[in-house]
Symmetry: C2
Subunit: 363 residues, 2 copies
C-alpha cells in the first residue's frame, strides 16, 4: 500500500492510497477556502445514560457549484474545486468538513445536564475515483486495499489521545438518507466506546470469561455447522444472515479465526474477507437487479492498546428494505422499547440471498 498525505487550503488533511506508487501531488483542493473551526459539544442524556453530540454549525454554503458538481470526484475545473485532486490513487480519505466530533473541540458552557467538548474525529473515505461504481463492483484487490486503509486509519486515529473507538461505516442509498452516490463511507473516531459496541463488548467479555473463546467466533462456527443462513464460507472468512437478525436482509461478515481489529488480519484472512464482502454485495445487487441500500458498520476492538481476545472484527449490514417494494420502518417497539419485531424469518431471507448466483475472480 502506498500513500501520500496532503493538506487542504482550509487546513483539513487528505490522504491518498494506492496499490501502486503515487505520483507526488503538490496540493490538495477544497471547496472551502477558510477553516470552519468546528466546535461540536456533548450533552449528557440522564434518562438513557448516554451522550448526544451537537454540531450546530452547518451553515449555508456560499459556494454555488454547477449542477453536475460532485464533491467526491477529482477536480476538473479549478474554479470549482472538489474535495479531491486528479491523480493515480485508488482510495482517498479526508477530514469531514462538518464533523459531529472534532479533536479541537472546546469545552462548552454548562447546562442543566453535564456537557463536554465533543472530541473525536470524523472522516470521509472515498472508495474509488469511479463515481458510477459501487463497493461491490470494485475488484478484490481494490477491496483488500480498502481493508488496509481502514487498518491504517484506525492506527492513526488510535494514536490521538482522546480516541477510544474507531468505527468505519457506509450509509448507502437515498433510502438511508444519502444523496451523494459516489461510492464512499465514513469513519467516526469516538472519545469513548459508544453504547452499541460497549454493549457488545460486555456480552463478549461475559462469554469469554465463561467459555474462553470469542462469542462471535463461536456463533460463526454454529452458523457454518447449520448452513441454513450461510451466504459465503471461505477458508478464512464467512458471511451469513444471523439467526437473530433484526433486519430482514441483515448480514454479518467476519473472519473465522479470532481477529480483534483490521490491523491484525493476515494477508490470507484479508483476501478471504474481501471475497466474503464482495460476495454479499453482489448478492444484494443481484437480488432485485438494482442498487441495494444498506448501512454497513465494521466493529472492532477498542483502541485502548489492550489485547481483546473476546471481541471479533466483523461487519454488520442493516438494509432498510423488507421486501422489494417495502421499507422496514423502525417504529414503536424498535425505537421506543428496543425490542425488534420481524415479520420475516432469517432462514427465508437467507434462502433468497443464497439463490442469487454471483461469480468472483478465482482465488
Amino acid at each position: 500500500m502506498h500513500c501520500q498525505e496532503l493538506f487542504k487550503p482550509d487546513g483539513r488533511q487528505l490522504t491518498l492510497y494506492s496499490r501502486a506508487p503515487i505520483t507526488a501531488l503538490a496540493a490538495a483542493p477544497s471547496p472551502f477556502a477558510e477553516p470552519l473551526g468546528a466546535n461540536p459539544h456533548l450533552r449528557w442524556h440522564p434518562l438513557r445514560g448516554e451522550w448526544v453530540t451537537y454540531a450546530p454549525y452547518r451553515q449555508e454554503r456560499t459556494f454555488l457549484p454547477p449542477p453536475q458538481y460532485n464533491p467526491l470526484a477529482a477536480t476538473l475545473d479549478p474554479l470549482y474545486p472538489t474535495e479531491l485532486p486528479r491523480g493515480d490513487y485508488d482510495v482517498a480519505v479526508f477530514d469531514n468538513r462538518f464533523p459531529a466530533l472534532a479533536l479541537e473541540a472546546r469545552a462548552p458552557p454548562p447546562l442543566i445536564v453535564p456537557t463536554a467538548a465533543a472530541r473525536g474525529h470524523c472522516e470521509v473515505v472515498v472508495f474509488t475515483q469511479d463515481a458510477r461504481a459501487s463497493l461491490g463492483a470494485l475488484g478484490l484487490e481494490h477491496i483488500e486495499l480498502l481493508l488496509q486503509v481502514w487498518a491504517a486509519r484506525t492506527a492513526r486515529l488510535a494514536a490521538r489521545a482522546p480516541v477510544a473507538y474507531v468505527l468505519p461505516f457506509e450509509n448507502r442509498g437515498a433510502e438511508v438518507g444519502v444523496t451523494l452516490h459516489h461510492p464512499h463511507g465514513q469513519i467516526y473516531a469516538y472519545p469513548f466506546v459508544p453504547p452499541v459496541p460497549r454493549r457488545m463488548l460486555e456480552q463478549e467479555r461475559a462469554f469469554y470469561e465463561e467459555n474462553g473463546t470469542a462469542l462471535l467466533v463461536d456463533l460463526a462456527q454454529r452458523e457454518v455447522a447449520s448452513g441454513a443462513r450461510l451466504l459465503y464460507r471461505g477458508q478464512h472468512a464467512v458471511a451469513f444472515v444471523p439467526v437473530c437478525a433484526r433486519y430482514p436482509y441483515e448480514v454479518w461478515v467476519t473472519p473465522l479465526a479470532q481477529v480483534g481489529q483490521f490491523a491484525a488480519l493476515t494477508p490470507p484472512q484479508r483476501a478471504d474477507l474481501a471475497r466474503a464482502l464482495k460476495t454479499v454485495l453482489l448478492k444484494y445487487e443481484g437480488l432485485w437487479q438494482r442498487p441495494f441500500p444498506y448501512l454497513m458498520a465494521w466493529y472492532q476492538a477498542p483502541t485502548d492498546g489492550q489485547p481483546h481476545p473476546e471481541t471479533q472484527l466483523h461487519a454488520q449490514f442493516l438494509p432498510p428494505y423488507r421486501t422489494r417494494e417495502r421499507l422496514k420502518y423502525l417504529a414503536g417497539t424498535e425505537l421506543a422499547a428496543g425490542l425488534f419485531a420481524m415479520d420475516a424469518l432469517p432462514e427465508d431471507k437467507a434462502r433468497e440471498l443464497q439463490q442469487v448466483a454471483v461469480s468472483l475472480e478465482p482465488p
Copy 2:
C-alpha cells in the same frame, strides 16, 4: 368512564370506552372469520444481549375490501365488516390480528441461540370514530378519557402473568411507515422490561438512590427553571424540548409531581396532562400548517406490583423531520454506534415551537 366488552368472531377481544353510558351492542365485527393462532417466538441476540421477536405468519389476506374501506371505521356494510361496530363510543381497543407478542404463543424449536415463546400482547387503540381527526384535534375531555383508557388497559394487561411492562405508543404519518390515517395507536405488553425502558429504569434507580428523588421530576424542574425549552407549564404538567434531545423536534410531556403510572394520576393531574399533550400536538400541527408525523411513546413503571418512586410517567415524541423538507435519517453513528448526532440545538427547535400560538379551551 363507561365500557363494554365484546368478542369478535375470530376470538379477539374488543372493548369500547365512552364518557357517557354505552348502548349495549350484541356483537363485534371482524374482517376475519377464523382465529389466526398467532405463534410468535423470541430469539436471543447474543451480541446485543437482547431478544428479537419473529412473527412470520403475516399471510396474504383473502379478503378484498372496497377501495375506501377503512378497517378502523365503524362497519357500514355487513358484507365488508371492519374491526369496529357502529355505536356510541369514543375510544375502542381490540386485539391486534397480527401480534408480535401473543399470550398463547407456544415454545419454539431450539436453534443455535436460545429461543422462547414470544408471550405478551399487542392491541390497537382507536382514538376516535372520526377518521379525519387527529389526537391533537380531540377535545380535552376526550384526551382525558384516552389517558384513563391507557390506565385501564395497563391494569388489565398487568394482571396477565407473563406481562412485565406495558407501552402505549402512536406511530403517526407515512414518514414513520403508517398508511392508515384513522387516528389510532397501539399498546405492547412485554414479558420483560424491554431494553430502552430497562436502561431508563437503571438510570432512574441510580439517581433515586443518590438523591432520593425521581430523575425526570428533577430534570423537569430544571427545565421549568431554565424556561429556554419550555412549551407548556401548567399547575400539574409540563412539556418541553429536552436539553438532551436526540431528534430535532423531540418533546417530553410529564406530570410535575412524581407519578409512576397512568393509574396513579389524580383527576387534576390527568386534566393538566391532557392540556400539555394537546398543546404539544397543536404546536406540531401549527408549525408547518400540515399533519406532523411522530412516534409518541408513553413510559411508565413496570407492572411488577412494586412501588416505583424512582420512575416517572411521561411521553416522548420522536418526530422524523429535521426541517420542513428534510427527514432526519438514523444512520451510521445513531444505529451502529448509538451516539446520536444533532445538527440542531434543542434551544433553537424549542423556540420554533414556542412561537406557534395555540389556544385551548379554558381550564
